[in-house]
């Protein structure tokens, strides 16, 4: 890697030699490789699901400088998979928690912290100080931002993403290889692809994929083996199948091909407001009812039919005694509903139920409305005894 900072004058102390002995005795790493790791500067974007195993292993392996970008605070729902963070860290900034653990694993690692949301104004400046960028973020806007900033600054983007029990990994934005936009020229419209918060994720999956990222980072630093450049690795943890697909550099790619895009853009706009989709997005027109108002009217004995459009396994966790028809089944079960009655639809947070209300109103259910904030809103505003998930 031409971009890597090879400080051949660096040496290993006796303590480091002992610590890294299992690396030093293998010919693929040896002292030369360990010094490359020590001289390397890797930026991890996100200290969450992917960022946890990634940063832990890179620190343990002796990567000299680790940058961490995150602005989030540890919460209970993180602990099922974000192994950098412990129960006692709930409420702390993720960076405070992460740095404690990384220092405890390997005090020889220099950590640079960036308590910020990566954006078009700061990305290139932050990337300047690093050789390799590892993308462990969770949204399309940041994915495209990281990609474009990597291409523009000539730094490889070691990529992974996850959903439920399936993951994807590759390396983008090397000089010879494709970038993320070569694979996916445009993001999906908002709402079409569920996030982990909506769709769930198997706790070990970011572990698997984050370790694959760490492996690829270390191989890039060492210049060893066959990297994932030009290959998309698909991991299906449920079937335990690993497949790989070819990713070609797109000569028409505006960022790495024709190079017509020479600076960072507004990625929220790129991923959010998207012509036809934006026009079709009717959220503003969907009538809503506040949890407290629903509670008051139910208590007053009003005839309101509560429709829960979540999945049966979510209903099991907590429910409002509503009738369960999962959003996906609604079209074929809509005849079970009475269009003369007032219907309040809810889901977990209000997204799926908004779609259901839109569908119902188009189907002639003029008295359908959406419970603001879903069952989590109800738990916050009306019944704190409900478990939140």
């Amino acid at each position: 890697m031409a971009t890597l900072n090879e400080d051949t004058t660096a040496t290993l102390s006796n303590e480091e030699i002992l610590r890294y002995s299992r690396h030093l005795i293998m010919p693929e790493v040896a002292t030369e490789g360990q010094l490359k790791l020590k001289a390397a500067r890797v930026l991890c974007i996100g200290a969450g699901g992917l960022g946890s195993p990634l940063a832990l292993y890179l620190a343990a392996a002796g990567v000299g400088t680790l940058g961490l970008v995150d602005f989030d605070v540890v919460d209970y729902t993180n602990l099922q998979r974000q192994v950098l963070h412990y129960t006692s860290d709930v409420g702390r900034p993720k960076l405070d928690s992460a740095i404690d653990k990384l220092n405890a694993i390997n005090p020889f690692v220099q950590i640079e912290r960036f308590d910020t949301l990566l954006n078009s104004q700061n990305a290139l400046e932050i990337f300047k100080g690093f050789d390799i960028i590892a993308d462990g973020t969770d949204n399309f806007a940041t994915r495209y931002l990281v990609n474009d900033a990597c291409v523009l600054s000539g730094k490889p983007n070691v990529y992974a993403s996850i959903f439920r029990f399936e993951g994807q990994a590759s390396i983008f934005a090397t000089e010879e290889g494709p970038c993320y936009r070569c694979l996916y020229p445009e993001p999906p419209p908002p709402g079409l692809v569920p996030s982990c918060a909506e769709g769930g994720v198997l706790g070990v999956l970011p572990g698997l994929l984050g370790v694959i990222q760490a492996t690829e980072v270390i191989k890039l630093i060492l210049g060893a083996g066959d990297s994932l450049i030009g290959r998309l690795l698909l991991v299906d943890a449920l079937a335990m199948r690993f497949r790989e697909l070819r990713v070609r550099k797109n000569p028409d790619c505006p960022v790495c091909g024709t190079k017509t895009q020479t600076e960072l853009i507004d990625y929220n706009q790129f991923c959010g407001i998207r012509g036809e989709e934006a026009a079709a997005e009717p959220s503003a027109k969907i009538p809503e009812i506040q949890p407290a108002e629903l509670k008051r009217r139910l208590d007053a004995g009003e005839d309101i039919f509560v429709l829960d459009v979540r999945e049966p396994h979510e209903y099991q966790i907590c429910n409002l005694h509503g009738t369960l028809i999962p959003l996906g089944d609604l079209p074929k079960r809509v005849h079970e509903l009475d269009s003369s009655r007032e219907i309040v639809v809810h889901c977990k947070m209000g997204g799926r139920s908004a779609k259901a209300v839109e569908f119902l109103r188009q189907s002639g259910f003029k008295r359908a409305s959406n419970l603001t904030g879903g069952i989590l809103g109800w738990a916050d505003k009306v019944d704190p005894s409900l478990p939140k998930y």
Binding site: G48, G51, S161, P188
Partner: protein
């Protein structure tokens, strides 16, 4: 002749929760048309209003992106596997 189409996790709810669907077709385009005919809910996830494959959904014949083959017209036969690879962003 039946061709196997692998359905990724995010799209399985729209394909009867199946991880793969068999379709009869001569080309990849035909295979996808038959797929959405069998599972109409998949249509809006794969195709835009004007019937074009969405740009965040990639379709592979075996390990090659059909954009670099003959796109929809890429011939397919029963030993082939078609893989739908949508972009996912999750990471935390």
């Amino acid at each position: 002749m039946p061709i196997k189409v692998l359905i990724p996790t995010p799209l399985r709810p729209y394909a009867g929760k199946q991880s793969s669907v068999e379709v009869s077709a001569q080309t990849v385009g035909e295979a996808l048309s038959n797929l959405v005919a069998q599972h109409p809910d998949l249509r809006k996830h794969l195709f835009s209003e004007d019937g074009k494959l969405r740009s965040f959904v990639n379709v592979y014949l075996n390990d090659e992106d059909i954009r670099y083959l003959a796109k929809d017209a890429t011939p397919a036969n029963e030993s082939d596997t078609i893989t739908i690879v949508p972009s996912v962003a999750g990471g935390v």
